[in-house]
Symmetry: C2
Subunit: 276 residues, 2 copies
Protein backbone atom coordinates (compact mmCIF):
# COMPACT_ATOMS: atom_id res chain seq x y z
CA UNK A 1 0.00 0.00 0.00
CA UNK A 2 1.24 3.50 -0.74
CA UNK A 3 0.07 6.88 0.53
CA UNK A 4 -1.15 9.17 -2.25
CA UNK A 5 -1.99 12.10 0.03
CA UNK A 6 -2.90 12.97 3.59
CA UNK A 7 -4.59 16.22 4.64
CA UNK A 8 -5.56 17.39 8.07
CA UNK A 9 -9.36 17.63 8.10
CA UNK A 10 -11.79 18.38 10.96
CA UNK A 11 -9.16 17.42 13.52
CA UNK A 12 -8.48 14.08 11.82
CA UNK A 13 -6.81 13.03 8.57
CA UNK A 14 -8.29 12.65 5.10
CA UNK A 15 -6.00 10.19 3.36
CA UNK A 16 -5.87 8.70 -0.12
CA UNK A 17 -4.12 5.36 -0.55
CA UNK A 18 -3.42 2.96 -3.40
CA UNK A 19 -2.83 -0.77 -3.20
CA UNK A 20 -2.55 -3.84 -5.40
CA UNK A 21 -5.92 -5.59 -5.26
CA UNK A 22 -6.10 -9.36 -5.55
CA UNK A 23 -9.80 -9.19 -6.40
CA UNK A 24 -9.49 -6.87 -9.38
CA UNK A 25 -5.89 -7.62 -10.34
CA UNK A 26 -5.25 -3.89 -10.59
CA UNK A 27 -4.03 -1.07 -8.44
CA UNK A 28 -7.03 0.37 -6.60
CA UNK A 29 -7.29 3.79 -4.95
CA UNK A 30 -9.46 4.67 -1.96
CA UNK A 31 -10.07 7.55 0.42
CA UNK A 32 -10.10 7.10 4.20
CA UNK A 33 -11.05 9.70 6.77
CA UNK A 34 -9.80 8.96 10.27
CA UNK A 35 -11.17 11.13 13.09
CA UNK A 36 -8.88 12.42 15.84
CA UNK A 37 -9.96 9.55 18.11
CA UNK A 38 -8.19 7.06 15.82
CA UNK A 39 -4.88 8.22 17.30
CA UNK A 40 -5.91 6.56 20.58
CA UNK A 41 -7.32 3.30 19.24
CA UNK A 42 -9.71 1.66 16.80
CA UNK A 43 -12.81 3.58 15.72
CA UNK A 44 -16.05 2.52 13.97
CA UNK A 45 -16.16 2.81 10.18
CA UNK A 46 -18.85 3.95 7.75
CA UNK A 47 -18.45 2.83 4.12
CA UNK A 48 -19.55 5.22 1.38
CA UNK A 49 -20.09 3.68 -2.08
CA UNK A 50 -20.24 6.12 -4.98
CA UNK A 51 -22.31 6.28 -8.14
CA UNK A 52 -21.76 6.08 -11.88
CA UNK A 53 -18.73 7.99 -13.27
CA UNK A 54 -17.35 8.62 -9.77
CA UNK A 55 -13.92 7.77 -8.45
CA UNK A 56 -12.92 7.51 -4.78
CA UNK A 57 -12.70 11.30 -4.84
CA UNK A 58 -16.17 12.69 -5.57
CA UNK A 59 -17.87 12.03 -2.25
CA UNK A 60 -14.65 12.70 -0.40
CA UNK A 61 -14.61 16.31 -1.61
CA UNK A 62 -18.31 17.02 -2.25
CA UNK A 63 -20.49 15.17 0.26
CA UNK A 64 -19.44 17.10 3.36
CA UNK A 65 -19.33 13.94 5.47
CA UNK A 66 -16.07 14.43 7.34
CA UNK A 67 -17.32 17.11 9.72
CA UNK A 68 -20.20 14.97 10.92
CA UNK A 69 -18.00 11.87 11.12
CA UNK A 70 -15.48 13.83 13.18
CA UNK A 71 -18.22 14.89 15.58
CA UNK A 72 -19.26 11.26 15.99
CA UNK A 73 -15.74 9.85 16.16
CA UNK A 74 -16.17 7.49 13.23
CA UNK A 75 -14.05 6.79 10.15
CA UNK A 76 -15.23 7.01 6.53
CA UNK A 77 -13.98 4.87 3.65
CA UNK A 78 -14.51 5.90 0.01
CA UNK A 79 -13.72 3.07 -2.44
CA UNK A 80 -13.41 3.59 -6.18
CA UNK A 81 -16.33 2.41 -8.37
CA UNK A 82 -14.41 0.08 -10.71
CA UNK A 83 -10.99 -1.19 -11.69
CA UNK A 84 -9.12 1.24 -13.93
CA UNK A 85 -6.17 1.33 -16.31
CA UNK A 86 -5.16 1.04 -19.94
CA UNK A 87 -5.17 -2.77 -19.68
CA UNK A 88 -8.66 -2.88 -18.18
CA UNK A 89 -11.73 -3.31 -20.41
CA UNK A 90 -13.86 -0.21 -20.94
CA UNK A 91 -16.84 1.00 -22.95
CA UNK A 92 -17.68 4.31 -24.59
CA UNK A 93 -20.92 4.64 -22.58
CA UNK A 94 -20.60 6.43 -19.23
CA UNK A 95 -22.67 3.72 -17.53
CA UNK A 96 -20.65 0.64 -18.49
CA UNK A 97 -17.04 -0.31 -17.81
CA UNK A 98 -14.63 1.93 -15.94
CA UNK A 99 -16.48 4.09 -13.41
CA UNK A 100 -19.49 1.76 -13.56
CA UNK A 101 -18.55 -1.46 -11.78
CA UNK A 102 -22.05 -1.92 -10.31
CA UNK A 103 -20.65 -3.82 -7.32
CA UNK A 104 -20.80 -7.25 -8.98
CA UNK A 105 -18.27 -9.95 -9.91
CA UNK A 106 -18.32 -10.09 -13.70
CA UNK A 107 -18.34 -13.55 -15.30
CA UNK A 108 -18.49 -12.46 -18.94
CA UNK A 109 -15.94 -11.28 -21.49
CA UNK A 110 -14.30 -8.80 -21.61
CA UNK A 111 -15.14 -7.82 -18.03
CA UNK A 112 -14.44 -11.00 -16.02
CA UNK A 113 -10.68 -10.57 -15.48
CA UNK A 114 -10.90 -7.31 -13.50
CA UNK A 115 -14.49 -6.25 -12.80
CA UNK A 116 -14.88 -7.91 -9.41
CA UNK A 117 -16.11 -5.00 -7.32
CA UNK A 118 -18.31 -7.20 -5.11
CA UNK A 119 -15.27 -9.14 -3.92
CA UNK A 120 -13.22 -5.96 -3.72
CA UNK A 121 -15.62 -4.16 -1.39
CA UNK A 122 -16.74 -7.26 0.53
CA UNK A 123 -13.39 -8.96 1.05
CA UNK A 124 -10.28 -7.42 -0.42
CA UNK A 125 -10.47 -3.84 0.82
CA UNK A 126 -11.75 -4.79 4.31
CA UNK A 127 -8.76 -7.12 4.80
CA UNK A 128 -6.41 -4.29 3.97
CA UNK A 129 -8.25 -1.70 6.05
CA UNK A 130 -8.43 -3.75 9.23
CA UNK A 131 -4.78 -4.77 8.90
CA UNK A 132 -3.42 -1.29 8.21
CA UNK A 133 -5.66 1.17 10.09
CA UNK A 134 -7.18 1.50 13.58
CA UNK A 135 -10.73 0.45 12.59
CA UNK A 136 -13.18 -1.70 14.51
CA UNK A 137 -14.28 -4.70 12.47
CA UNK A 138 -17.22 -5.17 14.84
CA UNK A 139 -18.55 -1.63 14.23
CA UNK A 140 -19.22 -1.19 10.51
CA UNK A 141 -22.03 0.56 8.66
CA UNK A 142 -22.52 1.27 4.95
CA UNK A 143 -24.15 3.86 2.74
CA UNK A 144 -24.04 4.96 -0.88
CA UNK A 145 -25.43 7.19 -3.61
CA UNK A 146 -27.24 6.03 -6.75
CA UNK A 147 -25.27 2.99 -8.06
CA UNK A 148 -23.50 3.11 -4.69
CA UNK A 149 -26.84 2.98 -2.88
CA UNK A 150 -27.58 -0.19 -4.82
CA UNK A 151 -24.20 -1.55 -3.78
CA UNK A 152 -24.63 -0.60 -0.14
CA UNK A 153 -28.06 -2.21 0.13
CA UNK A 154 -27.16 -5.45 -1.65
CA UNK A 155 -23.85 -5.87 0.17
CA UNK A 156 -25.42 -5.16 3.55
CA UNK A 157 -28.22 -7.67 3.09
CA UNK A 158 -25.82 -10.33 1.75
CA UNK A 159 -23.57 -10.15 4.81
CA UNK A 160 -25.75 -10.56 7.91
CA UNK A 161 -23.98 -9.45 11.05
CA UNK A 162 -21.35 -7.38 9.26
CA UNK A 163 -23.03 -3.97 9.01
CA UNK A 164 -25.09 -2.54 11.83
CA UNK A 165 -27.01 -0.13 9.61
CA UNK A 166 -27.38 0.73 5.93
CA UNK A 167 -28.51 3.90 4.18
CA UNK A 168 -28.81 5.16 0.64
CA UNK A 169 -29.19 8.45 -1.20
CA UNK A 170 -31.32 8.00 -4.35
CA UNK A 171 -30.30 4.36 -4.83
CA UNK A 172 -30.80 2.31 -7.98
CA UNK A 173 -33.55 0.21 -6.43
CA UNK A 174 -34.51 -2.29 -9.08
CA UNK A 175 -31.68 -2.90 -11.58
CA UNK A 176 -33.28 -6.07 -12.99
CA UNK A 177 -36.20 -3.89 -14.11
CA UNK A 178 -34.37 -0.75 -15.27
CA UNK A 179 -32.04 0.44 -18.00
CA UNK A 180 -29.71 1.27 -15.12
CA UNK A 181 -29.18 -2.39 -14.41
CA UNK A 182 -30.39 -4.66 -17.21
CA UNK A 183 -27.70 -3.38 -19.55
CA UNK A 184 -24.92 -3.76 -17.00
CA UNK A 185 -26.06 -7.03 -15.43
CA UNK A 186 -26.34 -8.59 -18.90
CA UNK A 187 -22.87 -7.34 -19.83
CA UNK A 188 -21.20 -8.37 -16.57
CA UNK A 189 -23.20 -11.49 -15.58
CA UNK A 190 -24.60 -12.81 -18.88
CA UNK A 191 -28.04 -13.66 -20.23
CA UNK A 192 -29.19 -15.87 -17.33
CA UNK A 193 -31.30 -13.46 -15.30
CA UNK A 194 -31.29 -15.89 -12.40
CA UNK A 195 -27.79 -14.67 -11.58
CA UNK A 196 -28.99 -11.08 -11.45
CA UNK A 197 -31.53 -11.38 -8.65
CA UNK A 198 -29.14 -11.14 -5.71
CA UNK A 199 -28.02 -7.76 -7.07
CA UNK A 200 -31.51 -6.26 -7.00
CA UNK A 201 -32.03 -4.41 -3.70
CA UNK A 202 -35.83 -4.45 -3.93
CA UNK A 203 -35.96 -8.20 -4.56
CA UNK A 204 -33.47 -9.02 -1.81
CA UNK A 205 -35.30 -6.67 0.54
CA UNK A 206 -38.57 -8.46 -0.12
CA UNK A 207 -37.01 -11.91 0.30
CA UNK A 208 -34.77 -11.46 3.32
CA UNK A 209 -34.50 -7.83 4.43
CA UNK A 210 -31.85 -6.42 6.72
CA UNK A 211 -31.43 -7.16 10.40
CA UNK A 212 -30.67 -3.54 11.37
CA UNK A 213 -32.20 -0.17 10.52
CA UNK A 214 -32.42 1.06 6.92
CA UNK A 215 -32.59 4.71 5.85
CA UNK A 216 -33.33 5.85 2.28
CA UNK A 217 -33.64 9.44 1.03
CA UNK A 218 -34.91 10.18 -2.47
CA UNK A 219 -35.33 13.60 -4.10
CA UNK A 220 -38.78 14.21 -5.59
CA UNK A 221 -37.26 16.17 -8.49
CA UNK A 222 -34.55 13.62 -9.24
CA UNK A 223 -33.94 13.64 -13.00
CA UNK A 224 -33.41 9.84 -12.95
CA UNK A 225 -36.55 8.67 -11.14
CA UNK A 226 -37.57 6.39 -14.02
CA UNK A 227 -34.22 4.63 -13.83
CA UNK A 228 -33.96 4.47 -10.04
CA UNK A 229 -37.49 3.07 -9.52
CA UNK A 230 -37.71 4.06 -5.82
CA UNK A 231 -41.30 2.78 -5.60
CA UNK A 232 -40.03 -0.80 -5.83
CA UNK A 233 -37.83 -0.44 -2.75
CA UNK A 234 -40.43 1.52 -0.78
CA UNK A 235 -42.91 -1.25 -1.44
CA UNK A 236 -40.44 -3.98 -0.56
CA UNK A 237 -39.48 -2.29 2.71
CA UNK A 238 -43.12 -1.91 3.68
CA UNK A 239 -44.00 -5.44 2.61
CA UNK A 240 -41.08 -6.82 4.57
CA UNK A 241 -41.96 -4.63 7.61
CA UNK A 242 -38.31 -3.57 7.45
CA UNK A 243 -37.17 -1.40 10.35
CA UNK A 244 -36.24 1.95 8.91
CA UNK A 245 -37.43 4.93 6.88
CA UNK A 246 -37.98 5.66 3.21
CA UNK A 247 -38.24 9.41 2.66
CA UNK A 248 -39.12 11.55 -0.33
CA UNK A 249 -37.49 14.98 -0.24
CA UNK A 250 -39.46 17.68 -2.00
CA UNK A 251 -37.54 19.72 -4.57
CA UNK A 252 -34.25 17.81 -4.44
CA UNK A 253 -32.53 16.30 -7.48
CA UNK A 254 -29.83 13.65 -7.95
CA UNK A 255 -26.79 15.85 -7.34
CA UNK A 256 -24.28 16.03 -4.54
CA UNK A 257 -26.15 19.13 -3.36
CA UNK A 258 -28.90 16.69 -2.39
CA UNK A 259 -26.47 14.26 -0.79
CA UNK A 260 -24.72 16.99 1.21
CA UNK A 261 -28.05 18.39 2.39
CA UNK A 262 -28.89 15.19 4.25
CA UNK A 263 -25.44 13.89 5.09
CA UNK A 264 -25.68 14.99 8.72
CA UNK A 265 -28.81 12.90 9.20
CA UNK A 266 -27.26 9.85 7.56
CA UNK A 267 -24.02 10.03 9.55
CA UNK A 268 -25.96 10.49 12.77
CA UNK A 269 -28.27 7.60 11.86
CA UNK A 270 -25.26 5.32 11.44
CA UNK A 271 -23.49 6.68 14.51
CA UNK A 272 -26.45 5.71 16.67
CA UNK A 273 -26.17 2.10 15.45
CA UNK A 274 -22.37 2.06 15.55
CA UNK A 275 -22.14 3.30 19.12
CA UNK A 276 -25.05 1.20 20.45
CA UNK B 1 -28.53 36.94 -17.25
CA UNK B 2 -29.15 33.27 -17.87
CA UNK B 3 -29.59 30.38 -15.48
CA UNK B 4 -26.97 27.68 -15.92
CA UNK B 5 -28.31 25.39 -13.20
CA UNK B 6 -30.34 25.40 -10.00
CA UNK B 7 -30.23 22.64 -7.41
CA UNK B 8 -32.18 22.32 -4.20
CA UNK B 9 -29.62 22.44 -1.38
CA UNK B 10 -30.11 22.54 2.41
CA UNK B 11 -33.66 23.77 1.98
CA UNK B 12 -32.59 26.58 -0.36
CA UNK B 13 -31.29 26.77 -3.89
CA UNK B 14 -27.71 26.54 -5.18
CA UNK B 15 -27.80 28.34 -8.50
CA UNK B 16 -25.23 29.02 -11.20
CA UNK B 17 -25.80 32.01 -13.46
CA UNK B 18 -23.99 33.68 -16.36
CA UNK B 19 -24.18 37.30 -17.46
CA UNK B 20 -22.50 39.78 -19.77
CA UNK B 21 -20.13 41.83 -17.59
CA UNK B 22 -19.45 45.43 -18.47
CA UNK B 23 -16.34 45.43 -16.30
CA UNK B 24 -14.61 42.53 -18.00
CA UNK B 25 -16.30 42.72 -21.38
CA UNK B 26 -16.89 38.97 -21.22
CA UNK B 27 -19.55 36.56 -20.07
CA UNK B 28 -18.97 35.84 -16.39
CA UNK B 29 -20.29 32.90 -14.39
CA UNK B 30 -21.05 32.91 -10.67
CA UNK B 31 -22.64 30.67 -8.06
CA UNK B 32 -25.30 31.92 -5.66
CA UNK B 33 -26.76 30.02 -2.73
CA UNK B 34 -30.08 31.37 -1.49
CA UNK B 35 -31.39 30.00 1.82
CA UNK B 36 -35.06 29.11 2.23
CA UNK B 37 -35.70 32.49 3.88
CA UNK B 38 -35.03 34.27 0.57
CA UNK B 39 -38.48 33.15 -0.60
CA UNK B 40 -39.98 35.55 1.95
CA UNK B 41 -37.75 38.56 1.40
CA UNK B 42 -34.18 39.86 1.16
CA UNK B 43 -31.46 38.05 3.11
CA UNK B 44 -27.89 39.01 4.07
CA UNK B 45 -25.10 37.93 1.74
CA UNK B 46 -21.61 36.56 2.33
CA UNK B 47 -19.16 36.82 -0.57
CA UNK B 48 -16.63 34.03 -1.06
CA UNK B 49 -13.62 34.84 -3.26
CA UNK B 50 -11.64 31.86 -4.53
CA UNK B 51 -7.96 31.22 -5.08
CA UNK B 52 -5.60 30.57 -7.98
CA UNK B 53 -6.84 28.14 -10.66
CA UNK B 54 -10.38 28.13 -9.23
CA UNK B 55 -13.61 28.92 -11.04
CA UNK B 56 -16.93 29.83 -9.41
CA UNK B 57 -17.39 26.13 -8.79
CA UNK B 58 -14.61 24.96 -6.47
CA UNK B 59 -15.80 26.46 -3.20
CA UNK B 60 -19.41 25.90 -4.18
CA UNK B 61 -18.88 22.14 -4.22
CA UNK B 62 -15.96 21.66 -1.81
CA UNK B 63 -16.11 24.20 1.01
CA UNK B 64 -19.25 22.89 2.71
CA UNK B 65 -20.55 26.40 3.33
CA UNK B 66 -24.19 26.03 2.31
CA UNK B 67 -25.30 24.03 5.33
CA UNK B 68 -24.00 26.64 7.75
CA UNK B 69 -25.36 29.50 5.64
CA UNK B 70 -28.77 27.79 5.58
CA UNK B 71 -28.72 27.53 9.37
CA UNK B 72 -27.96 31.24 9.61
CA UNK B 73 -30.37 32.31 6.86
CA UNK B 74 -27.73 34.01 4.74
CA UNK B 75 -26.89 33.86 1.04
CA UNK B 76 -23.49 32.98 -0.44
CA UNK B 77 -22.05 34.31 -3.68
CA UNK B 78 -19.15 32.59 -5.46
CA UNK B 79 -17.65 34.75 -8.25
CA UNK B 80 -15.20 33.41 -10.81
CA UNK B 81 -11.53 34.37 -10.39
CA UNK B 82 -10.92 35.95 -13.81
CA UNK B 83 -12.43 36.64 -17.22
CA UNK B 84 -12.30 33.62 -19.50
CA UNK B 85 -12.61 32.74 -23.16
CA UNK B 86 -10.67 32.16 -26.35
CA UNK B 87 -10.48 35.92 -26.99
CA UNK B 88 -9.16 36.68 -23.50
CA UNK B 89 -5.43 36.90 -22.84
CA UNK B 90 -3.86 34.00 -20.98
CA UNK B 91 -0.49 32.66 -19.89
CA UNK B 92 0.97 29.17 -19.64
CA UNK B 93 1.69 29.59 -15.92
CA UNK B 94 -1.11 28.54 -13.56
CA UNK B 95 -0.68 31.73 -11.53
CA UNK B 96 -1.07 34.34 -14.28
CA UNK B 97 -3.95 35.06 -16.64
CA UNK B 98 -7.16 33.06 -16.68
CA UNK B 99 -7.92 31.67 -13.22
CA UNK B 100 -5.54 34.19 -11.65
CA UNK B 101 -7.18 37.63 -11.85
CA UNK B 102 -5.79 38.68 -8.45
CA UNK B 103 -8.75 41.05 -7.90
CA UNK B 104 -7.12 44.05 -9.63
CA UNK B 105 -7.91 46.23 -12.65
CA UNK B 106 -5.14 45.56 -15.15
CA UNK B 107 -3.63 48.56 -16.91
CA UNK B 108 -1.00 46.72 -18.96
CA UNK B 109 -1.00 44.81 -22.21
CA UNK B 110 -2.27 42.23 -22.95
CA UNK B 111 -4.39 42.14 -19.78
CA UNK B 112 -6.02 45.58 -19.66
CA UNK B 113 -9.04 44.93 -21.92
CA UNK B 114 -10.61 42.20 -19.76
CA UNK B 115 -8.74 41.67 -16.49
CA UNK B 116 -10.79 44.05 -14.33
CA UNK B 117 -11.75 41.77 -11.46
CA UNK B 118 -11.63 44.58 -8.89
CA UNK B 119 -14.39 46.44 -10.71
CA UNK B 120 -16.23 43.21 -11.39
CA UNK B 121 -16.44 42.18 -7.75
CA UNK B 122 -16.77 45.70 -6.33
CA UNK B 123 -19.30 47.16 -8.78
CA UNK B 124 -20.49 45.06 -11.65
CA UNK B 125 -21.59 41.85 -9.95
CA UNK B 126 -23.16 43.65 -6.94
CA UNK B 127 -25.35 45.74 -9.27
CA UNK B 128 -26.61 42.60 -10.92
CA UNK B 129 -27.10 40.69 -7.67
CA UNK B 130 -29.07 43.37 -5.89
CA UNK B 131 -31.24 43.95 -8.96
CA UNK B 132 -32.00 40.30 -9.65
CA UNK B 133 -32.05 38.53 -6.28
CA UNK B 134 -33.56 39.10 -2.82
CA UNK B 135 -30.34 40.22 -1.12
CA UNK B 136 -29.84 42.96 1.47
CA UNK B 137 -27.34 45.55 0.27
CA UNK B 138 -26.99 46.77 3.87
CA UNK B 139 -25.99 43.35 5.16
CA UNK B 140 -22.87 42.18 3.32
CA UNK B 141 -19.77 40.34 4.51
CA UNK B 142 -16.83 38.92 2.58
CA UNK B 143 -14.35 36.08 2.87
CA UNK B 144 -11.92 34.23 0.65
CA UNK B 145 -9.20 31.61 0.35
CA UNK B 146 -5.57 32.24 -0.64
CA UNK B 147 -5.67 34.72 -3.59
CA UNK B 148 -9.35 35.16 -2.64
CA UNK B 149 -8.38 35.98 0.94
CA UNK B 150 -6.14 38.72 -0.46
CA UNK B 151 -9.10 39.95 -2.53
CA UNK B 152 -11.52 39.84 0.37
CA UNK B 153 -9.21 41.78 2.69
CA UNK B 154 -8.24 44.47 0.17
CA UNK B 155 -11.79 44.96 -1.12
CA UNK B 156 -13.23 45.14 2.39
CA UNK B 157 -10.75 47.74 3.59
CA UNK B 158 -11.18 49.81 0.40
CA UNK B 159 -14.95 50.08 0.81
CA UNK B 160 -15.67 51.35 4.32
CA UNK B 161 -19.26 50.75 5.34
CA UNK B 162 -19.95 48.12 2.72
CA UNK B 163 -18.93 44.92 4.49
CA UNK B 164 -19.70 44.32 8.15
CA UNK B 165 -17.00 41.68 8.59
CA UNK B 166 -14.16 40.10 6.63
CA UNK B 167 -12.42 36.75 6.98
CA UNK B 168 -9.77 34.80 5.14
CA UNK B 169 -8.47 31.25 4.93
CA UNK B 170 -4.71 31.22 4.30
CA UNK B 171 -4.69 34.55 2.45
CA UNK B 172 -1.90 35.91 0.31
CA UNK B 173 -0.95 38.55 2.88
CA UNK B 174 1.87 40.51 1.29
CA UNK B 175 1.80 40.30 -2.52
CA UNK B 176 4.21 43.21 -2.96
CA UNK B 177 6.82 41.13 -1.11
CA UNK B 178 6.11 37.67 -2.52
CA UNK B 179 6.37 35.70 -5.75
CA UNK B 180 2.60 35.28 -5.37
CA UNK B 181 2.11 38.94 -6.09
CA UNK B 182 5.14 40.67 -7.53
CA UNK B 183 4.89 38.66 -10.73
CA UNK B 184 1.17 39.33 -11.16
CA UNK B 185 1.13 42.96 -9.99
CA UNK B 186 3.97 43.74 -12.41
CA UNK B 187 2.16 42.01 -15.26
CA UNK B 188 -1.24 43.55 -14.56
CA UNK B 189 -0.29 46.99 -13.14
CA UNK B 190 3.17 47.69 -14.55
CA UNK B 191 6.57 48.53 -13.12
CA UNK B 192 5.49 51.41 -10.87
CA UNK B 193 5.23 49.71 -7.49
CA UNK B 194 3.35 52.70 -6.12
CA UNK B 195 0.24 51.38 -7.86
CA UNK B 196 0.64 48.02 -6.14
CA UNK B 197 0.36 49.18 -2.54
CA UNK B 198 -3.42 49.32 -2.27
CA UNK B 199 -3.50 45.64 -3.25
CA UNK B 200 -1.32 44.53 -0.35
CA UNK B 201 -3.53 43.49 2.58
CA UNK B 202 -0.76 43.83 5.17
CA UNK B 203 0.13 47.33 4.05
CA UNK B 204 -3.48 48.50 3.88
CA UNK B 205 -4.16 46.90 7.25
CA UNK B 206 -1.26 48.79 8.80
CA UNK B 207 -2.31 52.10 7.21
CA UNK B 208 -6.07 52.10 7.67
CA UNK B 209 -7.41 48.79 8.98
CA UNK B 210 -11.01 47.64 8.86
CA UNK B 211 -13.90 49.10 10.81
CA UNK B 212 -15.47 45.72 11.67
CA UNK B 213 -14.10 42.41 12.94
CA UNK B 214 -11.45 40.47 10.99
CA UNK B 215 -10.90 36.70 11.20
CA UNK B 216 -7.93 34.91 9.64
CA UNK B 217 -7.14 31.19 9.81
CA UNK B 218 -3.81 29.83 8.59
CA UNK B 219 -2.65 26.20 8.58
CA UNK B 220 0.72 25.62 10.22
CA UNK B 221 1.58 22.94 7.64
CA UNK B 222 0.52 24.99 4.63
CA UNK B 223 2.83 24.13 1.74
CA UNK B 224 2.80 27.77 0.58
CA UNK B 225 3.73 29.58 3.79
CA UNK B 226 6.72 31.30 2.14
CA UNK B 227 4.47 32.74 -0.53
CA UNK B 228 1.55 33.67 1.73
CA UNK B 229 3.72 35.48 4.32
CA UNK B 230 1.11 35.33 7.10
CA UNK B 231 3.50 36.95 9.57
CA UNK B 232 3.15 40.27 7.75
CA UNK B 233 -0.61 40.38 8.26
CA UNK B 234 -0.46 39.13 11.85
CA UNK B 235 1.99 41.91 12.63
CA UNK B 236 -0.10 44.53 10.81
CA UNK B 237 -3.27 43.50 12.65
CA UNK B 238 -1.52 43.66 15.99
CA UNK B 239 0.18 46.95 15.16
CA UNK B 240 -3.10 48.44 14.05
CA UNK B 241 -4.92 47.08 17.15
CA UNK B 242 -7.38 45.66 14.64
CA UNK B 243 -10.46 44.04 16.18
CA UNK B 244 -10.36 40.39 15.25
CA UNK B 245 -8.36 37.19 15.43
CA UNK B 246 -5.40 35.73 13.58
CA UNK B 247 -5.18 32.01 14.22
CA UNK B 248 -2.61 29.36 13.36
CA UNK B 249 -4.11 25.89 12.98
CA UNK B 250 -1.73 23.07 13.82
CA UNK B 251 -1.39 20.36 11.18
CA UNK B 252 -3.55 21.94 8.47
CA UNK B 253 -2.38 22.59 4.91
CA UNK B 254 -3.63 24.83 2.07
CA UNK B 255 -6.37 22.53 0.73
CA UNK B 256 -10.13 22.71 0.80
CA UNK B 257 -10.00 20.11 3.59
CA UNK B 258 -8.58 22.94 5.69
CA UNK B 259 -11.18 25.44 4.45
CA UNK B 260 -14.07 23.05 5.08
CA UNK B 261 -12.79 22.23 8.56
CA UNK B 262 -13.25 25.82 9.70
CA UNK B 263 -16.11 26.96 7.48
CA UNK B 264 -18.66 26.66 10.28
CA UNK B 265 -16.67 29.10 12.42
CA UNK B 266 -16.27 31.56 9.56
CA UNK B 267 -19.94 31.52 8.57
CA UNK B 268 -20.99 31.95 12.18
CA UNK B 269 -18.48 34.77 12.64
CA UNK B 270 -20.03 36.61 9.69
CA UNK B 271 -23.58 35.79 10.72
CA UNK B 272 -23.02 37.47 14.06
CA UNK B 273 -22.01 40.69 12.29
CA UNK B 274 -24.66 40.40 9.59
CA UNK B 275 -27.53 39.92 12.04
CA UNK B 276 -26.32 42.52 14.56
Amino acid sequence: MRTVSENRCFGGVQGVYAHASEATGTEMTFGLFLPAEAADGPVPVLWYLSGLTCTHENAMVKAGAQGWAAEQGIALVFPDTSPRGADVADHEDYDLGQGAGFYVNATEKPWAPHFRMWDYVANDLPELLFAEFPLERERQAICGHSMGGHGALTLAMAHPGRFRSVSAFAPICNPTGSDWGRKQLRAYLGEDEGTWARHDASRVMEEKGFEGPVLVDQGADDQFLELLRPETLARAMATRRQEGAFRIRKGYDHSYFFVASFMEEHVNFHAEALWA
